[in-house]
Amino acid sequence: MTVLKLPTFSPSTLTNAASLLRILALAAIAGAAISSRLFAVVNFESIIHEFDPWFNYRATRVLASQGFTEFWNWFDPTAWYPLGRVVGGTIYPGLMATSGVIYNILHALHLPVDIRNVCVLLAPGFSGLTAWATYMLTKELKDESAGLLAAIFIGIAPGYISRSVAGSYDNEAIAIFLLMITFYIWIRALKDGSVLYGTLAAVFYYYMVAAWGGYAFITNMIPLHAFVLLLMGRFSHRLYSAYSAWYAVGTLASMQVPFVGFQPVQTSEHMAALGVFGLLQLIAFVEIVRSYVASKQFQVMLRWFLVASGIAGGLAIVGLTITKTIAPWTGRFYSLWDTGYAKKYIPIIASVSEHQPTAWPAFFMDLHMLIFLFPAGVILCFKELREEHVFVIIYAVMASYFAGVMVRLMLTLTPVVCMAAAIALSSLLDTYLSVEEPARPDSNGVDETSAPGADVPAEVTVSKKKKKDVAAAAAAAAAHSAATTATKAKTKPSATYGIFGLDTRLVVIVNAIFMLVMFVLHCTWVTSSAYSSPSVVLASRRPDGSQNIIDDFREAYYWLRQNTPQDAVVMSWWDYGYQIAGMADRPTLVDNNTWNNTHIATVGKAMSSSEEVSYPILRKHDVDYILIIFGGLIGYSGDDINKFLWMVRIAQGVWPDEIKEPNYFTPRGEYKVDDQASEAMKNSLMYKMSYYRFNELFSGSPAFDRVRNQQLPREGPKLDYIEEAFTSENWIVRIYEVKKEDPLGRDLKTANAFDGGKKRKPSKPTSRRRALTA
């Protein structure tokens, strides 16, 4: 008996229509995902955003123009001058290789797409594929309707969009897609016990290793899943086949990437996978031997043998780690466990803004309603607890922890939140959309057991977005009818209830649709306002409401490009290194790769010391120009004076005797730039460069720094060893030129004084003998 009368169709029509609708829905989801990432291109232009993508773009340009072999062996003499950078061996080449392949395919089809456009639009393109991969994975967990929900969630969730807008040409653009597809293939391999899928998982894992440093997440998630299954007593030969195939082929493949090298057998991050692999071999061996001998004693002894060898293996790994044969956890990953570690020992890691802990509002902003559907979905996983549900539970727990530790790792949390929320919402909608009515457990013995079977085609609703699977409904109906036949004997009420009333259903369904609409509106708003700024170009509003574009960065970089010799070396803080290399095309001293702490500390020392101390450092490194960012005129708070304390800290890490952080604070411990500023602060190169001639803008009254909200002293700083070369329109970027040595061999301060007309003190000959007694 059905609650509603629905039209009847033949089963094959229904299945075909269902698949067609699913395909259309996925295509629409992909379209939505791609178009919501195009705000930046529409508002500004097709430009590469941020900092890291500029380096990836340069590398891709080399790949596109010179071919793969040259790219593989590319030595970049303009980065980290004069150390150079062996790019071929120090990057994850997956992203550039993907762009290169797409570029070559398009050109082979005679579509002359510029490499910049390929790079800018790669991330949106792959986001469509990520939606499809999430659909496939959630389909394994529950059913197709949950899959579609998960696909649309991840298609527009701001947590993922933030790293994959058009123009954000970074490793995460393809890495999240690879993450999802690797996990999906792993779940398929586990379900089927198939070596084919296991090897495919290994191949996609290899692609992931080539693409992103976060591959360690997969390297530890899959073993953790296998280990928990073992602890739950769910060892099976399917698990053995899938895991062994994935580990053996995947680890060997991952070592092909030069940047990874021998790490998979030598570092702690990869030891969990090796440990679980060994454990699986032992358990499989013991299982097979056990099947041949029934003796209880032998079996007990086998069990003890297993436990003992497992513990011995674990101790061996620990021992090797202690003796440093296996490298301990590197700073990047160790700081996830010990959150205070980075600030003390590796200030560079602690200073990156993406590595700060997550604030609570960030969860809501990035995930909206999904964040409170997420625990419900995880609990629903506990109800069925198949192997794939165990995986989702583990993934959810680990990802929640990591997302709480570092803002950047919200990205790995977003897929599992989308999947779990989809499961929860889909279960809710299933219950309230189901038109099947349970049979009443009353006196007449014969139940309409045949009725559910005949009613199955009619029960199916044909709704636009949500689709009920015919098989699932039939199974539910069959289970239900089995339950009712069982209860007939027991005369106990059935555990399954249905929702009859149309009004009850409407309330819940309309509420759910309202929340989904709010979700879409929120995501679109967050994407357009917060995550679509190219950060190379700033936009603000004038008092009359019109938009004011601040293009100082590009103005300054292009000045450098057009007015300086090709081999002029530019020194700046490492944040801007990639942008200078990409847009100004000049050698830089340090850049965002931050691989050499001492070099960065040298730059920090040069910026925070007085001119006399900095000048020899500048000349030794052949620095011709210094570039700083100063936001005091228009109130841009991401400038170098705000980052100055990090420069001091990093320099102090290498030269603790010469640079001391307390020297840059006032005696009361405040960070001031006005006349109370400490001597070290006033004499530092960064202070002088920022405020040089700043008081000329204020014609008489003292200068006011709008970021620090302090008034500067009346006398501005004087520069002897460097001279101003360029200041951009809003004084955001200031470029200084380093003077060459004085022709007469004097130090530049006295040379400048002489040019200004000052006279030196006369000197007298000193005695070489002891005093004559008069």
């Binding site: 030595f75 490194h621 000197s763 007298k764 005695s767 070489r768 003998r769 004559l772």
Partner: protein, 445 residues
């Protein structure tokens, strides 16, 4: 009439004595700045000597503005002789700042010869000299020496024997008459000592010569301008391609009256002309003509070398020959060094003269580190032009297919991998061939 005849005779003499023709490597035009008190005819032998070397002399007084030293930022003269030691003020284009600017111009440097009067250098010159690291004694204290004086009564006129050096070519031997002041040199490495004061000399007021010693004794020996440390003639080479300057403490060194004393001829003229030759960049002038670098096995230079490459570096140096006015290759330099530097020199090796005249070469293996390196030749010797050359190249690591392959120590691994593959193929064959067993079993069951 008499002076004119003498001057013609002087020309003839100079033509016999001095080299037949001598040119400067930087130009012919000389500007001589004098003041109103001096008579140019008193120095006629010096001018004739200069003219005979091919210089064009232009005279100007400090009170005049024309001819200017530079027009539209282009120097008009290659050399300046400042013979106005008592002028209180100089015109704008001869101010101390402008003179330093003219000296430091890399493309067209101007060489300057500063000549000072016996007693008191003028204030602008005093201040300018301090920038060069040269300090003068208090006013009106000429150099006094009782041991090398011409006569005990005239203790300020000294007969000195300048040392012979390759920088004063043209001066063979002899004594010169010196009547002037000494100065103190700082430790600036760009100063070149030409003539030091005699060890028994000191600077004092000739009327009260003992006062200086007494005062200095009271302050423990400080402030006594005495001894062989004091300089009389000091040269100065501006860094990296600028001009040369020279400070001479005696105006009378150039005078005609000083060419003979008590009937004996002194070597003043030859010495003065030798000093001018050095200052005007005739002698001891070197330059780098060409720099080559390549792999030993190749013939063309490269922008990128590989680590552990054998590299050969060659440099060509030539010297200016004032007699012919040509640049002639020279292999005289014995201590030139090459540094292969990335922040600090990784390789420092000697550049030895090669078989061809003027070429020096060095051969070395590129270091094991990759990076951006520079070939630096930085040769500085007092009196000679500094040679400096810097060439930037990259040193890249091995390409992915340049590593050694098929190592003998890896044969067990090659064997293992090959045997596994072979066994796999064999196993597949066996499995496929024995495929009927399953079907047979099923049939029998």
């Amino acid at each position: 009439m008499q002076p004119r005849l003498l001057s013609w005779l002087g020309i003839a003499l100079t033509l016999l004595v001095a080299p037949a023709w001598a040119k400067s490597s930087t130009g012919d035009k000389v500007l001589i700045v004098t003041d109103a008190k001096l008579e140019m005819s008193d120095y006629s032998q010096f001018w004739d000597g200069l003219r005979s070397r091919g210089y064009e002399l232009t005279f100007r007084k400090t009170s005049e503005d024309e001819p200017a030293t530079s027009a539209f930022d282009v120097p008009s003269f290659s050399h300046i002789i400042l013979l106005a030691p008592s002028a209180k003020t100089y015109p704008q284009d001869l101010s101390p700042q402008s003179l330093v600017h003219l000296l430091s111009d890399r493309t067209q440097p101007t060489n300057i010869l500063f000549v000072l009067q016996p007693s008191t250098p003028s204030v602008p010159l005093r201040d300018l000299a301090r920038e060069f690291g040269i300090s003068f004694p208090p006013p009106a204290t000429p150099l006094i020496d009782y041991f090398s004086a011409v006569s005990p009564a005239n203790a300020t006129s000294l007969l000195l024997s300048p040392p012979l050096s390759q920088h004063t070519a043209g001066f063979e031997s002899g004594k010169i008459l010196y009547h002037g002041i000494s100065h103190l040199r700082s430790s600036n490495p760009l100063l070149v000592n030409f003539l030091n004061a005699p060890p028994t000399s000191y600077a004092a007021d000739p009327l009260e010569p003992a006062d200086a010693v007494v005062e200095a004794a009271a302050s423990g020996g400080e402030g006594l301008w005495a001894g062989g440390r004091m300089g009389l003639v000091t040269g100065f080479e501006v860094l990296l391609g600028g001009g040369r300057a020279m400070w001479v403490g005696s105006l009378d060194l150039f005078a005609d009256a000083a060419t003979s004393i008590d009937g004996e001829a002194t070597a003043n003229n030859a010495y003065a002309l030798a000093l001018a030759a050095w200052t005007f960049q005739e002698t001891s002038v070197l330059r780098i003509d060409a720099v080559e670098h390549r792999r030993i096995s190749e013939s063309a230079p490269r922008e990128q070398y590989r680590i552990k490459d054998e590299i050969i570096y060659r440099i060509h140096v030539s010297k200016f020959d004032p007699t012919t006015g040509e640049w002639v290759p020279t292999s005289e330099i014995e201590d030139m060094q090459l540094e292969f530097t990335m922040l600090d020199p990784h390789i420092r090796t000697a550049l030895k003269p090669a078989s061809e005249e003027g070429w020096y070469e060095a051969q070395f293996m590129a270091p094991d580190r990759h990076g951006v390196f520079k070939f630096i030749v930085d040769w500085r010797r007092k009196g000679y032009t500094a040679l400096h050359s810097s060439t930037t190249v990259s040193v890249v690591p091995f390409r992915h297919n340049e590593y050694p392959r098929f190592l003998s120590s890896a044969w067990p691994y090659y064997l293992g991998a090959l045997s596994t593959s072979a066994a796999f193929v064999l196993f597949c064959a066996l499995w496929l061939l024995g495929g009927d067993e399953e079907a047979k079993k099923k049939k029998t069951q």
